[in-house]
């Protein structure tokens, strides 16, 4: 654990990503402290520009943009984290089992993974989300998890395969441990870096795809998520009517949060694979 923190501190990318993530976490935790007000309240102060009263202006419905954006952090993070977590759990289950069990199980699980991987994601997500009449966060999460686990499963399977022949796993078997114990407590702890990297990748995928869905109107259109804001902005032709802030700010937040996850993902790749780390150079005398 200590080595992990040290590694994060030393890695510039990880530090930057962590800072951005913490920023949004704070927004999600205490939105009312930062931007008090009700994001859904429709007023008559329509499409106002930046002012002292409304720091980012108002939407086409008179809602304060800053309040909306700040309150939108919580559902964004919720979706990212929960979908990411569930997708990772599924990846680990399928990928590691395939690698460790081997034989016919490996073939079957691999086939299953490959089939799901090949299905085009966005259309599938649209279909799943469209199938449910009531669009809620839960539906979103289901759609994201179902489509988001397969890539990670392949990665984890490969790493588990490379670890499988290490002597300490055979040693555990020879001393009489059960297979389930070996997978959970001997194999998986050696894959934490990759599992965390997977989680971050899944979170990134979730936030981007969720925003995409919401933009298409398949999210809860009465909410104030960033993607939904974009939906309404487009719906009200914000760009054509001068509502630049309304159109840009939610997109910027999505991009920033996504970048945070991407930076951390890259950093964890480097942490778990020393070969990817930047190499120190000596001041060479000759």
């Amino acid at each position: 654990m200590a080595t992990l923190f040290r590694a994060i501190r030393h890695n510039g990318k990880a530090a930057a990503g962590l800072l951005i993530l913490i920023f949004f976490l704070v927004l999600a935790a205490v939105p009312d402290l930062i931007a008090p007000g009700n994001p859904a309240t429709i007023t008559n102060d329509v499409s106002l520009g930046i002012s002292g009263q409304h720091w980012l202006g108002t939407t086409g419905f008179g809602q304060d943009i800053l309040v909306q954006v700040v309150h939108g952090a919580r559902p964004a993070l919720l979706i990212a984290v929960v979908s990411g977590l569930l997708a990772t759990v599924l990846s680990v289950l399928v990928g590691v089992s395939a690698a460790y069990l081997g034989g016919i199980w490996d073939d079957v699980l691999n086939l299953f993974t490959d089939v799901v991987l090949v299905i085009p994601t966005l259309p599938l997500v649209v279909v799943i989300a469209g199938y449910f009449s009531h669009h809620s966060i839960t539906v979103m999460i289901i759609a994201l998890v179902v489509t988001g686990w397969s890539f990670g499963a392949r990665q984890l399977r490969v790493q588990a395969l490379s670890l499988r022949n290490r002597d300490f796993l055979e040693a555990a078997r020879v001393r009489g441990e059960r297979r389930s114990y070996i997978i959970m407590f001997e194999l998986l702890p050696n894959m934490t870096s990759l599992i965390v990297a997977n989680f971050l990748g899944a979170a990134l995928y979730s936030i981007l795809t969720a925003s995409g869905l919401e933009f298409l109107g398949l999210g809860d259109v009465n909410s104030y998520d960033w993607g939904t804001m974009l939906y309404w902005a487009q719906n009200q032709s914000a760009l054509q009517t001068g509502g630049y802030v309304w159109a840009a700010v939610p997109g910027l937040c999505i991009a920033l949060l996504g970048t945070a996850f991407a930076l951390l993902n890259n950093a964890f790749d480097e942490i778990s694979n020393p070969a990817l780390r930047p190499v120190r150079r000596l001041r060479v005398a000759s």
Binding site: D167, V174, R175, G176, E177, N190
Partner: protein, 379 residues
């Protein structure tokens, strides 16, 4: 406290009760015996299934309080034998008897666990045989938990520290908290031994335990093995490709080539008068920095074959300097050619063996096994 090895009678044609008469007969029985042990692996795709003969018809035994060296090059089958004894693989044919009872009779998890506690294994690579994410005490504590359930947590920790002291890692309390990356290769191998000792075994399978260590460290571990044989009444199957270290540590020697046992017997007898041409070749290539070089010319160029779907005949015939016609058609069997010294070679069998003059050795100083209580008798 002598725990019975198995908890229930197993399915054997002769299901004799475990009375003292039968036990007395078993006293002569070696600790472990292998009869016709064979293991094949299927290689090739669906359309060209072929059999790799890793081990064929191995007959050998390991007694109590002895170190048996199993020597051979890569592909000889020595690692496969280790894994057969450790129940990692099942034999394709033949059987293994531990204390007179066949391993095939072990059905329940309890039985298998009981066997595993008696026959643990030490691995070759000190850098991959310990789980890097846990402290080094993890493996020892887990072994104690699995095989000595009568101990509670505090007793387990105390026993782990005692084991570390036995293998020479002192002060034990300091080592318990260390991670593997903080320790050298030699120290990690000692932990491997400690883990094997945790279950009070009778036989430890050591798969090339010193091959990946520096030369100056090897002696320390070989000395540890002989010490454990003398003080803790543990037998070893010491797998190696280095005859010199085999001579240093072992009492008996088994030489393997391409899946067959080609020679076995007391190690000094074999080294003094090797009967099989392969043993002679192996002996001639052992470099001794102090001895003058034997003739350089005519160095053997061959390598051990990969044995796939073989025909009968001696597998060494392609490299053998004394091969005769019979060698190509009839597989030689192990024949007793001296006092407990046997070899599988048509030529050696035909030649009357001169009485070997063993090299003078320092007489072994290990104590004759007595019935004195050992640490195992105190649960």
């Amino acid at each position: 406290m002598n725990q019975p090895l198995f908890n229930e009678p197993f399915n054997e044609p002769f299901n004799e009760p475990l009375n003292s008469a039968a036990n007395a007969a078993r006293e002569d029985e070696p600790l472990l015996r292998a009869n016709g042990l064979t293991r094949h692996f299927q290689i090739g795709g669906i359309f060209s299934r072929r059999n790799l003969h890793a081990v064929d018809g191995a007959d050998f035994s390991i007694g109590r309080n002895e170190i048996v060296a199993l020597a051979g090059e890569s592909g000889s089958g020595k690692s496969t034998i280790a894994r057969l004894l450790a129940m990692v693989y099942q034999p394709t044919a033949g059987e293994i008897l531990f204390e007179g009872r066949p391993l095939s009779g072990l059905r329940s998890r309890k039985d298998v666990l009981a066997y595993r506690s008696q026959v643990p294994m030490v691995f070759q690579d000190p850098f991959s045989s310990i789980n890097p994410v846990y402290r080094i005490s993890h493996g020892i504590l887990r072994t104690l938990k699995l095989h000595r359930p009568e101990l509670d947590q505090a007793q387990r920790v105390a026993e782990a520290e005692r084991l570390l002291t036995v293998v020479g890692l002192t002060p034990a309390a300091q080592y318990m908290a260390k991670f593997p990356y903080e320790m050298s290769g030699g120290q990690r191998q000692r932990i491997g031994f400690a883990q094997a000792l945790a279950s009070n075994p009778k036989l430890i399978i050591a798969d090339e335990p010193v091959s990946m260590l520096d030369v100056s460290i090897r002696i320390g571990l070989l000395n540890l093995m002989t010490e454990l044989r003398d003080r803790s009444n543990v037998s070893f199957l010491y797998i190696t490709h280095d005859l010199a270290s085999a001579r240093y540590a072992a009492d008996r020697l088994i030489v393997m080539y391409a899946g067959h046992i080609v020679e076995q017997g007391p190690i000094e007898d074999i080294l003094a008068a090797p009967k099989h041409p392969y043993t002679q070749l192996l002996l001639s290539t052992v470099p001794d920095p102090r001895a003058p070089l034997a003739d350089l010319a005519g160095a053997d160029r061959g390598e051990p074959p990969k044995v796939v779907d073989p025909r009968p005949g001696c597998r060494f015939r392609a490299r053998c300097p004394v091969a005769v016609a019979e060698c190509a058609t009839v597989t030689p069997e192990l024949r007793l050619l001296g006092d407990r010294h046997s070899a599988a070679c048509h030529v050696a069998n035909a030649t009357p063996s001169p009485t070997p003059t063993p090299t003078p050795t320092v007489p072994p100083t290990r104590p004759v096994p007595t019935n004195a209580p050992t640490h195992k008798d105190f649960a």
